[in-house]
């Protein structure tokens, strides 16, 4: 295999907001040309991490090199090499789609002729050519998101950061974005760093994935590697009435069962062949005096990797407490 260079090198990066540790001693590398995914629930620290890597926030401790340079020592040099699509929509509503792209391109000192060609190409690629001269205020959420993804390519970044790029998009638009990212990556051979809480996105798009929970990396590797770390191939989920520890223990002792976990009255049973083993499992529950209310069998996914490592499924975390000063127009960090 070809020896590749590191595009992103992070060691022991930490960000604290008062007593809250948003990112806790995180280290990882991203190789050039990779699509690297950060997978985790909302509030896991993904956005904070991306903001530190893209020079918008200073880490409390630790180091990160993005492209050529250290993010805290040479932020300006880092900014010239990267392109970022933040999670929140940031295109200017008072400008047209074309004007948004044009102004952005001028920030990078791109000449007028080059701008025109590039913007036309990019707007065509994301299907916005026909609406290029309309105010962004008139765009739908999906259009605005596509514009923002297209915008980041005007200066051909070496490393692209996308923070939840398909959040709130319908499945169709999501696929358009995925295809677009793959296409641009192949054509421009850039490194892509993406955060997501969609398992499917991580599985379909990423060559490697880091699973993050409560600010810490809990597993890292290719989707296949990560899945191979959990026992079996399939997962049988049973909803059982009056689930007892004795019953769980009995299931666990069946010869074909690799591992058992419980969550809210459901039993998750890791097996090699779910379709074949399901009837046997239902029989076992019955013979122990239990009652199966429902049953599902599915192939292991990254979601199961997440559950395996954290003991919980990916869901919304409780919202962060907002400082009382926010509404007064004073940045939250003053109140902390």
């Amino acid at each position: 295999m070809l020896q590749r260079n590191k595009a992103v090198e992070v060691s022991g990066i930490t960000k604290r907001f008062g007593s809250l540790v948003a990112v806790d001693n995180v280290s990882f590398d991203v190789m050039e040309g990779e699509i690297f995914g950060f997978l985790g629930p909302n509030g896991a620290g993904k956005t904070t991490l991306i903001r530190m890597l893209t020079t918008l926030m200073k880490p409390t401790s630790g180091e990160a090199t993005v492209g050529c340079c250290d993010v805290t020592k040479q932020p300006a040099a880092v900014r010239r090499e990267i392109g970022v699509v933040p999670q929140a929509m940031t295109s200017d509503l008072d400008l047209t789609g074309f004007e948004n792209m044009d102004i952005y391109a001028r920030f990078y000192g791109i000449s007028s002729k080059e701008r025109k060609d590039k913007i036309a190409y990019l707007l065509e690629t994301v299907g916005l050519s026909a609406r290029a001269n309309e105010l962004v205020a008139a765009y739908s959420g999906g259009m605005r998101r596509r514009l923002e993804i297209a915008r980041v390519f005007v200066h051909r970044p070496k490393i692209l950061f996308l923070d939840e790029p398909t959040i709130g998009l319908d499945p169709q638009s999501r696929r358009v974005v995925w295809d677009f990212l793959r296409k641009l990556r192949e054509e421009a051979s850039i490194t892509i760093f993406i955060t997501t809480h969609y398992m499917e996105e991580a599985e379909v798009l990423c060559s490697r994935v880091a699973i993050i929970d409560s600010g810490r990396i809990i597993a890292i590797g290719s989707p296949q590697d990560l899945k191979s770390q959990i026992p079996g191939n399939d997962i049988v989920s049973l909803a059982v009435e009056n689930l007892t520890d004795i019953l769980v223990d009995r299931i666990n002792h069946l010869p074909f069962v690799r591992e058992v976990g419980t969550e809210d009255g459901n039993v998750r049973i890791y097996v090699d062949n779910g379709a074949q083993d399901l009837p046997l499992l239902i029989d076992e529950v019955k013979s122990s005096g239990g009652k199966v209310l429902s049953a599902t069998v599915h192939q292991q996914s990254l979601e199961d990797v997440f559950i395996h490592y954290t003991g919980k499924s990916i869901r919304e975390e409780e919202g962060k407490k907002v400082s009382f000063l926010v509404g007064a127009g004073i940045p939250q960090k003053w109140g902390r």
Partner: protein, 389 residues
């Protein structure tokens, strides 16, 4: 499984639920108010600030108006006049005296804005008093500031009146010291005298809604993040917004100046030099206030705060600027504040240019202050502006 989802209650048509809804709206509003300590504090403080600033900008007696005296007479009666003037200087303190050797120095000083008025006691004054041959003194007035010149004139009349009663009989008219007041400029009425202030207010409003306000709005709408991710530097952002704000505000100010001159009937000399000088002051004042706004609004992220600050800044900058009432009427603390208030220098410069036909040399102090203030504020703005979220 968590606890069961609670059952629905009654309908929402009865009076009780109407009350609930109204209460909910009220409560939401009160909560928002309570959670904005700065806005709450300012809404309480602002009327009180108005009380203090307005109360002291208009009500005070005019004091310490600079009066230049050229006493060309060495006789006893002129010494008497001087004593009486010193008594006014020590007592009601209407003016402070500056003694010069000749008439020309006095008049030049007034023209350069150093003095509000100049009293010339001619060399034959004592002789004429003694002879009761209609003694006369000359009073040169900076009549562009009607309120101040009126106050000086009245105080001097008082001082001269007491000489007369000491030395001559009341019934004899020929003894009366005749005060010949000479207006140095075309008469400026109060309506006209407000025009410089109105132009400065236009500049204030222009600089408040351009420049740094864009940063506040971008922050509020979350658009700033994408700009901060580009190679734009702090000085790119500050300089760019100041230049666009300068362009817009200058146009507004020139339009306001032209319209208000037409409305009040101020004479315009049509000399390109005068126009260029006025434009220079407008540009300098705009730069000055734009930089100040950047320092003040640099870290604000909600337009509501800008709204409340605009009221506050306007009252503390505009009224103590001398635009509506002479600074000489202010108490000492407000006079001191006027010394660091850029709007006071801008008003003074514009009054000079509009009403006295002054050249740039005579408003050099104003220009120097505005320049220094701008440089200090712009440096502070670039230093304190945060390029991180």
């Amino acid at each position: 499984m968590g606890p069961a989802y609670p059952k629905n209650g009654g309908g929402d048509q009865n009076m009780r639920s109407v009350g609930l809804r109204v209460l909910a709206v009220i409560e939401r509003d009160l909560k928002k108010f309570r959670r904005n300590p700065l806005v709450v504090a300012m809404s309480v403080l602002l009327p009180l600030i108005y009380l203090v600033i307005l109360g002291h900008s208009f009500q005070g007696k005019l004091q310490a108006l600079p009066l230049v005296v050229a006493n060309l007479d060495s006789g006893p009666f002129s010494r008497n006049v001087m004593e009486n003037l010193r008594a006014v200087e020590a007592g009601p303190k209407t003016f402070t005296l500056v003694i010069v050797g000749d008439e020309k120095d006095a008049i030049d000083g007034i023209r350069r804005g150093k003095y509000k008025a100049g009293l010339i006691i001619p060399s034959d004054f004592s002789k004429r008093v003694a002879l009761k041959a209609r003694p006369e003194v000359g009073l040169f007035l900076d009549n562009t500031d009607g309120i101040s010149s009126e106050a000086v004139k009245n105080a001097i009349m008082g001082a001269l009146g007491s000489i007369r009663s000491d030395y001559v009989s009341i019934r004899d008219k020929s003894d009366e010291i005749f005060l010949r007041d000479i207006n140095l400029y075309r008469q400026v009425d109060y309506y006209e005298s407000l025009v410089p202030g109105v132009v400065i207010m236009a500049i204030f409003l222009g600089t408040l809604t351009t420049g740094a306000f864009n940063v506040v709005m971008d922050r509020f709408l979350g658009v700033d993040e994408s700009y901060l991710l580009t190679p734009l530097s702090k000085s790119d952002i500050v300089a760019g917004l100041i230049i666009s704000g300068l362009f817009i505000t200058t146009i507004i100010a020139v339009v306001i100046l032209a319209v208000s001159m037409l409305m009040t009937g101020i004479h315009f000399s049509r000399s390109p030099q005068q126009f260029a000088s006025i434009l220079l002051i407008i540009i300098l004042t705009t730069l000055c206030l734009l930089s100040l706004m950047f320092v003040i609004l640099g870290r604000i992220n909600h337009p509501r705060v800008v709204g409340i600050l605009s009221g506050f800044l306007n009252v503390i900058l505009f009224f103590p600027s001398g635009a509506v009432y002479p600074i000489a009427s202010f108490p000492q603390w407000l006079k001191t504040f006027a010394k660091i208030n850029p709007e006071a220098y801008a008003v003074d410069a514009l009054k000079g240019l509009l009403f006295k036909g002054a050249d740039l040399a005579s408003i050099a102090t104003d220009i120097a202050f505005l320049l220094v203030f701008t440089i200090v504020m712009m440096t502070t703005a670039i230093m304190t502006f945060r390029r991180t979220l």
